[in-house]
Every structure is written in structure tokens, then in C-alpha cells.
Symmetry: C2
Amino acid sequence: MDVKVLQDILAANENLARENAKLFKDKGIFVINLMASPGSGKTSFILKTAERLGNKYNMAVIEGDIASKIDSEKIKAHGIQSIQINTGGACHLEANMIKKAINHFDLEGINLLMIENVGNLVCPSDFNLGESARVVILSVPEGDDKPYKYPSIFRDCSVLIVNKVDMIGLSDFSIDRLKVAVYKLNPDVNIIPLSCRTGEGFDVWIAWLEENLEYCR
Amino acid sequence: MDVKVLQDILAANENLARENAKLFKDKGIFVINLMASPGSGKTSFILKTAERLGNKYNMAVIEGDIASKIDSEKIKAHGIQSIQINTGGACHLEANMIKKAINHFDLEGINLLMIENVGNLVCPSDFNLGESARVVILSVPEGDDKPYKYPSIFRDCSVLIVNKVDMIGLSDFSIDRLKVAVYKLNPDVNIIPLSCRTGEGFDVWIAWLEENLEYCR
């Protein structure tokens, strides 16, 4: 792509992201930009997080997909307010899409907004949405070498969730090899292994999240 | 992105892809553009295919990744000629990258060129490389709803490999639900379930491939 055009797009996105961030801060909303490959368990992770938080916090979800309303319908079926963004073809969410989507929510009283980005380990990492934190999910069947191949997304996240740890042993995945690869890129990241299926490891994630939610109030 | 700029990029890519395709046809090389999410088993699939073809055909591999030489080193360790393309940040391969990469091969005598695209279910589908066929891999842990969310890549492929079928039963993945979703987009696609780990299902894939290789000679 033409470098100038890309720079203009990114600069315009940064401006809108800052406006979103200011609004979220004013309203006391902790916002997570959740990024991962297709099929790593993003929606299951959101649902399990909601189940574990219970009625303690008020949560909203923005679902990003190229097509379909599958994920937002799944979220709504659990009584959680949710908006679906269909990008049409675009491989990532941008700040202007979030700016429009949040008009559908009553922001007063929302404590936590989870934004499920389009399933993609590459493009979403270039576009700030105004989030408070970036959380990346890598699932065990994807393999432990992904940080070497897709460094940008692992470099710029606060938390790396390693999902589907109940599948360790079915392939040659090594959590230690993964940690070596990730810490080289991002020494301060919190790596949290868990399973959305069995629930193991969720205490650590919920503790991190609640600490940040309390700080935001 | 600016629509005009995108159109110009795609048109320039199409021209180069046509040149690549002509060269491949003249040399009698069957070229596969292999596309999938990160971690779906693209490299394992290439290695198992090479093992199954044995010395019957002469194979070369182009590996596409944002960073690292992990995959091309893995391929070379099995005695197969391979070139690594590092895109630097780009989320897909383009025809000009292939045009440069093939200068590193002696094309005389090559029957099969497998191009492993950057792990991404979105962006690679817009860029022809001059391939003879597009093969998409979806692995069982990714889930059976992906065609609804990423329609473009499933619409434009000749073969859909369903990898890691040895993991069926560990999640709620249904091959029948997947087929319904895929055939709606692409009624003519060959859906081939297999496992790179156990080798089951590979006979069907190798039969399809050999038929096309013979046709190319």
C-alpha cells in the first residue's frame, strides 16, 4: 500500500481512538480489545468471563466479524447487551466503527466493555480502538511458535490468555517454549493459561480483571 | 482504505499474477496457494504431502510469514527446496513477492510448487498469486462456524482440507454443519477431512493432487 495513504489512515484512526478513550475514561468504563485468530475461543472467553463476574459488574460486548451475527446472538442469549459490527470485508475493527457502535448502548452504569475484534493475528494490532487494555488469546492447538511469526500482536498486549490448556499433551505444544518466545517481545505481559471449557485458570484472569475494574470505578 | 488506491493495488497484482500463471503453465508446474489461520497445520500438511508423494514428483515450497524462518528451515530439513518470504508486516502474499521468490529456484523439472500464505483467513483471499488452485485448511479446533464469519476465503477455493480430524469429539465441532455452511458458499469445492498427525484421509487428498499433477505434465 502507498505509505502516505497508510499513514493518513492510521493518524485519523489514532485521533478517533483518543476521543473514544476519553469518553470511556469519563464514564468509568474499562474497555478490552480482544484479539486472536479465528477459532481460538474469543466468544467462549467472553461468556465464561461474564458467568464468573456474575451481577457484580455491568458488562456490554461489541462483536466484530466480516459477516454473520452468530456471536452477538450467542452473547445476547446469555442476557448480555451486545452489538454486532459486520466489517463487510475489512480484516480488523477501527476506532470509527466503535464510535458508532457505542451509540447503541446506554453507557451510564456500564463497567466493562469487551470488544471482540475480527479473528486475525495480524491486522487488528495496528488499529487502536480507544481501549484500556489489549488482551490476546492464543489457543494450544495453534502451536507455541506463533509469537515468532506474528510478533506485533504479542508485543503490544497487556495480557496473553493461553486458552484450551485441557488440550495440552495432544500436540507438541510447550507452555515454556511459548513463554520464552513471548517474554522476548514483551517482558511485562501477563501470561494466563486457562481453559474456557473446564474453567481451570480462570481465577487468575478474574483477579486481574477485577483489580482493573475496581481501579476504573 | 481509499477505494481507488485499493483498486489500483488489486489491478497491479492481477497483472503480475497473470504473468506468474503463464510462466507456471509454460513450465508445466502445478501451483497451490495454501491459505489458513495461524496454527491450522499448513506446514505439517506440506511435509506430509511431500512424504506421501515420495520421489514421484519434484516439489518446491515458498513459505510466507511476517517474520521468522521457522517454516522454511523445517521444510529444508526434510530435503525439500524452500524459500522464505518475510512480509515485514503485510498480512498476505502478493504476486510480485512470488515473482521475485521463484528466481531462487531452477524451475525446470519442478512439478509442484506449494505456496504457504501468511496465516490469515481474511486478507490473502483478495490477492491472486498466479496459482493453479487455492487450497484452504480449516482445523477442527477452530470450529465449524468459520465459513459464516469469513465467507470470502471459503467461496474461492478448489479444495477445503479439514485438518486435525483426530480431535473431533473434543469440542462440539460437526463436519456435517461445516459442510452445510461451505456448500452454500461454494457448491463445487472438494471437502477433504484428514489428519496430518495420524495420516487418515490423506489418500483422498493425494488422489486429487496426483490427478492434477498428471494433467499438468
